[in-house]
């Protein structure tokens, strides 16, 4: 174990994110996920001052919908990637993909890896529970027969458990939606930029109680890409490097007995000490956090499990204004999946990079040096992952 820890410390700040790229976000891209992937990758490479000829690694995560590295490589004339990863999974593995790319670079397997996610989550492959084939998984048989099939239902179930145990209220969920919309109003990329009030939130139609419309993220068409390379090489590129200070993987909850079974505690609680330890930092050092917000509730539970407030106090913490721009811990400064758009985790990392480079415009957190960016915290699919990034 000591050996592992020592090697992890050697990993600290060895790699960097040197470029980010986006397609526009929308409800109907009109193009394939392959096209979206190529566009985001070209934008990210341009941001870094690189071309596809510099790329020797490709990685994505997907649930059967994004373009595979085996397709994107030939499409962009990258014919002999030294490393690639086609990771099955949803938001819970989003940060693991970048972490694995960083490991590949640190190990010398590849020098420049592009991580991307392309998604037509509105026009083609909706995750909200309509018109989608159920995944092939043994767990489905204990859910689908009861009409319990979609993420809004599953996260609403966990959210209610938190409400029952800790007194978390609809107004707390609503405050997250309101705060993130205010951030999105300052983000030209964001899909939803009109400010909302708590009353607007409370007037929203029910989706699956206790969730209303504005508890749910935006099913989005779009793509986002990140260029991962060595810290050394990143310093010679076009943009200020953002260092990967720590990366961690963790477990989660499942229907299977024998594992964690408190629905109000996520795998982030066990992961956080490893992550902070690797970076040599603690929650108080985090200047800005991009917390996976497929639904409002997931922000509240992560604020607790990543150590920003005591267990059960995520709701009051948000209500205090702590997570707004100008507060001690701005969260989801781009508007998050709730208001910017949903690129399955990758746009959180891209926003963290933007904040640390100081190019986040009107939503810039002054002097941001350390960012936490997190994956879905391990509900539904028992896996999670997270990154701590630092200004280079």
């Amino acid at each position: 174990m000591a050996f592992v820890v020592k090697r992890l410390l050697e990993f600290r700040d060895r790699t960097a994110i040197a470029g980010v790229g986006y397609t526009p976000f929308g409800k109907d891209s009109g193009v394939s996920t392959l096209t979206l992937a190529c566009r985001a990758i070209m934008a990210a490479l341009d941001d870094a001052g690189l071309t596809p000829d510099d790329v020797d690694g490709l990685a994505t995560h997907r649930v059967g919908d994004s373009a595979a590295p085996s397709l994107v490589g030939p499409a962009l004339g990258i014919h002999d990637p030294h490393w690639h990863l086609d990771q099955f999974g949803g938001g819970s593995v989003s940060h693991a993909v970048v972490a694995q790319a960083a490991l590949a670079v640190a190990a010398g397997v590849a020098e420049t890896v592009v991580c991307y996610r392309a998604i037509n989550a509105r026009s083609e492959f909706r995750m909200g529970g309509t018109g989608r084939a159920l995944p092939v998984s043994p767990e489905v048989q204990y859910q689908a027969p009861y009409g319990y099939v979609a993420p809004p239902q599953q996260f609403a179930m966990y959210a209610r458990a938190h409400m029952l145990k800790y007194g978390t209220r609809a107004e707390h969920f609503g405050q997250i939606a309101v705060t993130q919309r205010a951030n999105a109003a300052k983000n030209p990329r964001a899909l939803m930029r009109t400010p909302i009030t708590l009353d607007d939130y409370l007037a929203g139609r029910w989706i699956a109680e206790p969730f209303r419309l504005l508890d749910c993220c935006l099913e989005t068409d779009g793509a986002c890409a990140l260029v991962v390379t060595s810290a050394e090489r990143a310093r010679d590129l076009r943009r200020p490097p953002v260092l990967v200070s720590a990366a961690a993987w963790g477990g989660g909850q499942s229907h299977l007995s024998g594992g964690p079974s408190d629905p109000t505690v996520t795998a982030a609680a066990a992961l956080a000490p490893r992550l902070y330890g690797q970076a040599g930092l603690g929650p108080a050092d985090v200047d800005v956090a991009q917390l996976y917000d497929c639904f409002t509730y997931s922000v509240i539970v992560q604020l607790e499990d990543y150590g920003f407030c005591p267990k059960g106090e995520g709701g009051p913490y948000v209500a205090s204004g702590a997570t707004a721009l100008g507060g001690p811990l701005p969260v989801n400064t781009h508007g998050g999946f709730l208001s910017e758009g949903y690129v399955h985790g990758v746009n959180h990392i891209a926003e963290a990079v933007s904040q640390l480079r100081g190019d986040a415009g009107d939503r810039q957190v002054p002097g941001a040096e350390v960012a936490l960016s997190t994956a879905q915290p391990g509900y539904v699919l028992p896996a999670t992952s997270a990154l701590i990034l630092r200004r280079g």
Binding site: G129, T130, L134, P138, E139, V140, Q141, Y142, Q143, A144, P145, Y146, G147, Y148, V149, A150, P152, Q153, A156, M157, Y158, R160, A161, L164, R205, W206, I207, A208, E209, P210, F211, Q253, H255, L256, S257, G258, G259, S261, P263
Partner: protein, 135 residues
């Protein structure tokens, strides 16, 4: 409740005997032959002692309400709206959280005691739903 959409789900090779038992209105758990730990849903290995030997054991279909949702839109075809899905912590396997249908005119209450009800389904295994002990 309505029938689930055909072909949307099916027992697997581990779980088929469990669903056979629900068809006889039996709520069964697997009991590890080595360490005695009960487990659910069905699978080959005991997560506590990592051995394969086990036997089926009929258990009381009883538990407590951990959470619930009220579906306000149709997430799957054939299901009524609004409808409650409840998450129950079974007494027999208290580290398992099972979703199921809710069989009462009112909504659940957090932590309340519930008992299982067996719900036959056309062309499929009998499901396990839950009703309040105190109606």
């Amino acid at each position: 409740m309505s029938d689930p959409p055909a072909g949307a789900w099916r027992p697997d090779r581990d779980s088929a005997p469990w669903w056979e038992r629900t068809g006889r209105e039996e709520f069964a758990v697997q009991r590890c032959d080595s360490c005695g730990t009960a487990r659910l849903p069905a699978r080959a290995f005991c997560p506590a002692c990592r051995t394969e030997g086990w036997h089926w054991e009929a258990a009381e279909p009883a538990g407590t309400v951990e959470s619930w949702i009220v579906n306000r839109r149709a997430f799957a075809p054939g299901f009524a709206v609004p409808s409650v899905v409840v998450m129950v912590r079974p007494d027999a396997v208290p580290d398992c959280l099972l979703p199921g249908s809710w069989h009462a005119a009112r909504e659940p209450v957090g932590g309340e005691r519930v008992r299982g009800v067996f719900v036959p389904v056309r062309d499929g295994p009998t499901l396990v739903g839950w009703e309040p002990v105190v109606r």
